[in-house]
Amino acid sequence: MLQRLRASRDRWLGLVLIAPTLLLLTALLLVPLILVVITSFGSRSPDGNVIYTFSFENYLRLVGITAEGFDPLYVEILWRSVWLAVQTTTLVIVIAFPLAYFVARAPARWRNLFLFLILVPLWTNFVIRIYAWIMILRNQGVLNSLLGWAASLVGLPFQPLDLYPSAGAVLVGMIYEFLPFMILPIYTSLEKIDDSLFEAAADLGANAVRTFLRVTLPLALPGIVAGTILVFIPVMGTFIVSDILGGRQVILVGNLIQRQFLDARDAAFGSAASIILMALTLVVTVFYTRRFGFGEEIVKA
């Protein structure tokens, strides 16, 4: 009797405590998501409002099927976004790994300082960080000035490089924005590795490369997977980096969605594009975590 009373009391307390959060998440996350799905099947009225219908026209347009035949415009945008996200994630892993390793193997009393130094750039604003890269990459910017100065030292002629705006600038900006999100998870998994494992590997005659491939890398994998999810999803959806560093030349799916909602006023098409974006990120996330699960089994074996 007392126990049943207790259980029902627990239930009420739990419900009361979760209620505000649940209401908010339902109203501002679930309902909006459902609205986006509904809108994506609609079409645009001449004055820019949404006519709620049930047609797959927006999705067909996104994959290039139109009344006039195949139009690759949107497929190219989707492909460009995925490819950029893959490039960014790969480069970020390559750049983050040595630093994460360095910090994880540093003397304990230095580690906090090194970690702090990784976080500081994150605290400057996202938009301000993009501005910094404009200053570095533009035609008469810092990088070109340095290169020109170096060229004049050795007496070579120098033409300023066209670095900004460009697709390369967008890639650099993306790497810079999301690098810390890869360093931290890799650091977390590397830090857990027991020193004795490296000693054991050395005792068994493994050289540096072999130790790295058979010990360090497999144990760092959970960190790399977590970092990939933290980097890949935002890169796919960001539109400011490409908007500003790409000078409106590099159109990603994020830019497409933003323009449909604000300039073109075709919310239905924009919603369809965001559903595709969401589907792409979910597919990649699920695929990647599945594969990692498989990888873990190999390590255990």
Binding site: A7, D10, R11, L13, G14, L15, L17, I18, T21, L22, L24, L25, L28, L29, V31, P32, L33, L35, V36, I95, A96, P98, L99, Y101, F102, V103, L117, V120, P121, W123, T124, N125, F126, V127, I128, Y131, A132, W133, M135, I136, Q140, V142, L179, P180, E199, I229, P234, M236, G237, I240, I244, I257, Q258, F261, A267, S271, S274, T281, L282, T285
Partner: protein, 294 residues
């Protein structure tokens, strides 16, 4: 046992640190630029003068504030001060609310069994795995439809109409930061020894008193880091604010974005420098507080 570390790892680490800090150093240096166009560094402003230079001069040689000329002009920029005020209002309000309800949710999920538990856990993961832009346009669609409906049915016209603004931004910021607060506080609750609470109850403290005198002080560091995370997320947010803001509710990131598409002067660098300095001080203070609490 000495740790062997390849010099290549150290070199690579140094290079990555340079990559991380070069843009910040550039930002700070250029905030002292005497050239208004701010493309190349024309040296710092060296002279002092009684009056502010004509805003049309391309190279500022003297100012009442000397080298800190651009920091002084910031103080007179009304648009910017409004944006800063909005940013802080939004960040403080949303942090306060999301930390409170997020902590409550963490307690509920960690301690109690209730009907919608699984559903709650799943919905808490949504903002973490879904691109921000999708959330942004979703909330935009919701408020757009809701306000259209309410304005029409209540017959509101002119300035009385409901529109996007600081309120909608605050609500959206709470929505995307609650899951992070819950995650952090839950992590702290997992290592919680329930025996302490039972001891308090044995000593006749009621549940409410136990919560305030025992539970909360123990989970306080978790609540504090959750709140700090929510505050940072709110300050830094661009995408969701971009879609949920309205006239008069410009935040600093939105303001900076607007400037980037027009002309930028060293004033923007001065703003960035100030921002970095303030964040640095804030983090330093919270770290001190946390250390004292620990």
């Amino acid at each position: 046992m000495t740790k062997r570390r390849s010099p290549w790892v150290t070199l690579a680490a140094i290079l990555v640190y340079v990559f991380l800090y070069a843009p910040i150093v550039v930002l700070v240096i250029f905030s002292f630029n005497s050239s208004r166009t701010n493309v190349t560094f024309a040296g710092p402003i060296t002279g002092f003068s009684a009056e502010f230079p004509d805003p049309r001069t391309s190279v500022v040689t003297a100012s009442p504030c000397g080298p800190f000329h651009w920091f002084c002009t910031l103080a007179g920029n009304r648009e910017l001060i409004n944006a800063a005020r909005n940013t802080l209002t939004i960040a403080f309000t949303s942090t306060l609310i999301s930390t409170t309800i997020g902590t409550m949710a963490a307690l509920a999920l960690q301690r109690y069994q209730f009907p919608v538990k699984t559903f709650s856990e799943v919905s808490l993961y949504i903002p973490i795995v879904i691109p921000e832009i999708v959330m942004g346009i979703g909330i935009l669609t919701l408020f757009g439809a809701l306000f259209r409906f309410l304005n029409a049915s209540l017959g509101l016209t002119g300035d009385g109409r409901l529109a996007m603004g600081i309120g909608t931004v605050i609500l959206s910021h709470i929505a995307f930061s609650v899951p992070f607060v819950t995650l952090v506080v839950r992590a702290r609750l997992q290592g919680f020894d329930k025996a302490v609470e039972e001891a308090a109850m044995d000593l006749y403290a009621n549940e409410w008193r136990t919560f305030w005198r025992v539970t909360l002080p123990i989970i306080a560091p978790g609540v504090l880091s959750g709140g700090l995370l929510a505050f940072t997320l709110s300050l830094d947010d661009f995408v969701i604010t971009f879609f949920t803001t309205g006239p008069g509710a410009t935040t600093l990131p939105i303001y900076v974005y607007g400037l980037l598409r027009r002309i930028t002067t060293p004033e923007l660098n001065a703003l960035s420098t100030l921002w970095i300095a303030l964040v640095f001080v804030a983090v330093f203070i919270t770290q001190r507080l946390e250390r004292r609490a620990a």
